[in-house]
Symmetry: C2
Subunit: 130 residues, 2 copies
DNA sequence: TCTTGACTTGGAGCTAACTCCATATAGTAC
DNA sequence: GTACTATATGGAGTTAGCTCCAAGTCAAGA
């Protein structure tokens, strides 16, 4: 698979993919004779991993650290478990923040929908709505 | 309430709070004789709004746009509803990405926990685990 | 073979959201 | 009033994560 195919598959740019490789968020990708990247199933699996975690806000640095540990072999299994656990924990917190904000927006939206109908914007929770 | 109190209350720095005011993510805060910020309940409510949305990843620009519309009065109610709905939608997508990543991490973590016990790292879903 | 378009690299440039700094003024305890 | 700490302002600096660019190489079709 060429870099273009991979980009389309995951909805990211070639620059981003090369950047991920450069900083180690995915392992070095194999090349053709002429030096052109050729993505096999394993490479794709790493791309999927990086893209999924990035979309959730995991730092490129953390992803790269995981790849680095992975390439060091079995002695780093515990270190990888700890890294993953830490990231999992911070995503859990992020999930909470996100849920709070969704709740806030849903509340405001309900008030605004009413306001559009009745012409009056009111806040029943907090008298200081905004 | 002084800027320091507000910072402590919300766990952000005074610089951030002044920055939010400068770019309009919160309305202008009232000042004392000498020009020092004095946060009343309404100001606090705006700060709460900004902090909550920022923690979920809503851009400062979008928050500022909401404040701007709010200050323009009742003619902007529909515009505000649309803005809030758009932001709500993108948080919904973000929630999904986050959930996917949490699921991925939980799966990996379960594999790693097993590996720490058994000494063997295996992937039952995808034979190309990483 | 020639042309055209995709791909390569190293490195510079960009944006959002802070974060820090210098200088000056305000408030507070004594 | 003096000393000391907090706050104000404008503007420069920082960081992450891309994004773009130039100059050159590679590959597929006419």
């Amino acid at each position: 698979m060429t870099i273009k195919d991979v980009c389309e598959k995951f909805g990211i740019t070639a620059d981003t993919l090369r950047y991920y490789e450069k900083v180690g968020a995915i392992p070095k990708v194999g090349r053709s004779q002429g030096g052109i990247r050729e993505y096999d199933d394993e490479a794709l699996s790493w791309v999927r991993n990086a893209v999924c975690l990035r979309k959730a806000g995991v730092s490129v640095e953390a992803i790269a650290e995981y790849v680095r540990l992975f390439n060091m072999g079995d002695e780093t299994i515990e270190a990888r478990l700890e890294l993953l656990s830490n990231e999992r924990e911070s995503l859990g917190k992020q999930l909470e923040e996100l849920t709070n904000a969704v709740e806030l927006l849903d509340y405001k939206i309900s008030r605004y929908r009413e306001a559009v109908e009745t012409g009056v914007l009111t806040w029943d929770r907090d008298p200081l709505g905004n």
